[in-house]
Amino acid sequence: MSRRFLVAAVVLAATLLTALSVHALWAPWPGAARPASDAPRGAITLTGGTARDMVILTVSAPVTGSTALDVRLVPRGGTATGGPAPVVMVSAALPTAGHAVPDCTAVRAPDGHYHVAALPLMMPGRWQVLVTVDGDGHRDRLVFPLNVPR
């Protein structure tokens, strides 16, 4: 009888130990990619902003290789001004390696969306996606840090 309790105690202790270790050591290390609901599977959506626009960048495939990009401008204060639509340029750089990719002018789509078909992210690493918004006499430059896993 007493031996059974001893065994139970040891098993309980072992279970508790394992559970606690697993929780404490591994739970706070989740994967970095947290896709948004309306984006393609595996895509990553990053929000940033300037004084004039909220800028939402969706990277379709944030892995090594070419990826499509979507930039959405949401003007602050609700509606866009009556002037011409801003011009959006997208580029990328991997500062630690000293790599850059050519500038792409994003193609305008309805509802403040701008598309880039293929941006080459040749290497894994901590990239910077550079978004330049030219409009209304202003030029805003935004840097979106993007981790491209191996």
Binding site: A9, A14, L20, A51, T96, A100, R126, P145
Partner: protein, 548 residues
Amino acid sequence: MNAPSAARRLGAVLAILLSTLGLLMPPVAEADSAAVGDLHVAQTLGGRELTVILRRVTGVPGPLHVDVITHKGTAAGRLDLAVVPTGVSTSASAASVSGTTVDTAAVALSGRPGTCSAVLDVTRAGPWELSLSDGNRTATIPFIVPKQLTSPPETAVYLGFSGAGVLLLVTLLVAVRARRGWWTLVPGGALVACLAVAVTGALLSSRLPPPPSQGGQVDATIDGVDDPYAYSGQRIGDYSRPPGTLLLSSSTTRAGEVADVRLALSDASTGLPLDDVVVHDGALLHLLVVGPSGQLWHLHPIRTGAGVFEVPLSLPEGGHYAVSAEFARRGGGVQQLRSATGIDAVPATGRTTTGSRPEVAARTTAGDLQVGAGARTVADVQVRLSASSLVAGQAAVLSARVGDTATLQPWLGMLGHLIVVGPLAPEAAVGTATQNAQVWAHSHSMGAMPDRTHDTSGTDGTAHAPGMGPHSPSPGLDPDMPGMGGLTSVNGDSTADETVAAYGPDICFVHTFPAPGYYRIWIQAERGYTVLTVPYLLHVTGTVEKRP
């Protein structure tokens, strides 16, 4: 003695033993992987030389205390401050106000040297920008609002110890109340398990490498500052980035007029704007300008755009001015870039407008300099320099006594700055000679040398100027302590700022001159809210003898 009571006693002993063990465990330090002290940033804003101190934000949403320290001669006026969050996030709500001004404040500069303060509200952890405007120019200072963090092993320690605490009570309760003594082993075993987790965590927490510093080593994001463990990405040993390229907006200007010097930094690999400058030695960028007759400007241009720094400069005379910039990029490594062109000032055609040029600290005019160390008086402060072993390839010790009292103030986090240019022809125009000099060094002093060096310094022939008495012990200076207390950050504590006038008067530099010849040096130290710049011309001899 029956079995249950023996087991009960065993349980009680076990509980006491374990509680003792718990008490003996070393206390776990607060998680401080994102702990940064105050951020000191020198800014040459228009005609004012300011030190902006962003006090550490201890909780969000919460206040950001900003102190602006002015110097002697800083004009009275008003500064407008604003804070803008600049981070990106995977969460649209977290980044919804990024790029917009969240809070503003005004600072009234009284015209007397000292500290003026303002408080701004920051709403969340992440990368931010503080902007300062004097009405004409706006400086932006990037900074990180940290979050109190707990690393995974530390979480294990907290969970383990809290679990152990609860189970300790349960064990005691069971040991006293249970009819069968073996029941005690159930919570007792769990208690051991919890302690094991805690001890493992405590051992691991000091061994696991911290995640890369957000903003210091890698580009900061809101998500990264919130949880650097989750967003640490690949762990690489080297976060360093390529060197920069320095472009001056214009290489000619007119003497006597205030010209805005614009420095554009770009990445030497990609050519893109270099916009990841981090605060180093109390400034984003240190600009050194050496003029034709030996003037030295040590200024801190304001950041006005991506990789763009600006500073107003009024060059007093025609001739060539050599320019260099020091800064550190995110990822580590300080770099010094010397402008390949420098600035040529054409002599003013009409009357000179010397009266209207803004007074900026750290400016001096060097007249004819005698070769060697000795005494100089700058801004009514006597500075005595002694130099020993001025031999190429040997460590030279330059000891300066600035004034007679221990009232030096740390400037840019250091008690003394030493700028060295050479070898050069001693009679040549200094700007041109500096442009072509092989050495342009910048060294710092953290106080006096321990007494040995100081005692021997008097034996150097060049040390004693006529009428210079023996050094009297200065009040408040412990002879055994070189007097650098409070200047080095311990455990992320804040270091002494410029308002602490309690250092010196002895400052010492150790510098190895690589080649023989004449060198121009400037010693800079702050006293009475004035940055003193003291020029010297030293001769460094070749090696005396060839050692076998």
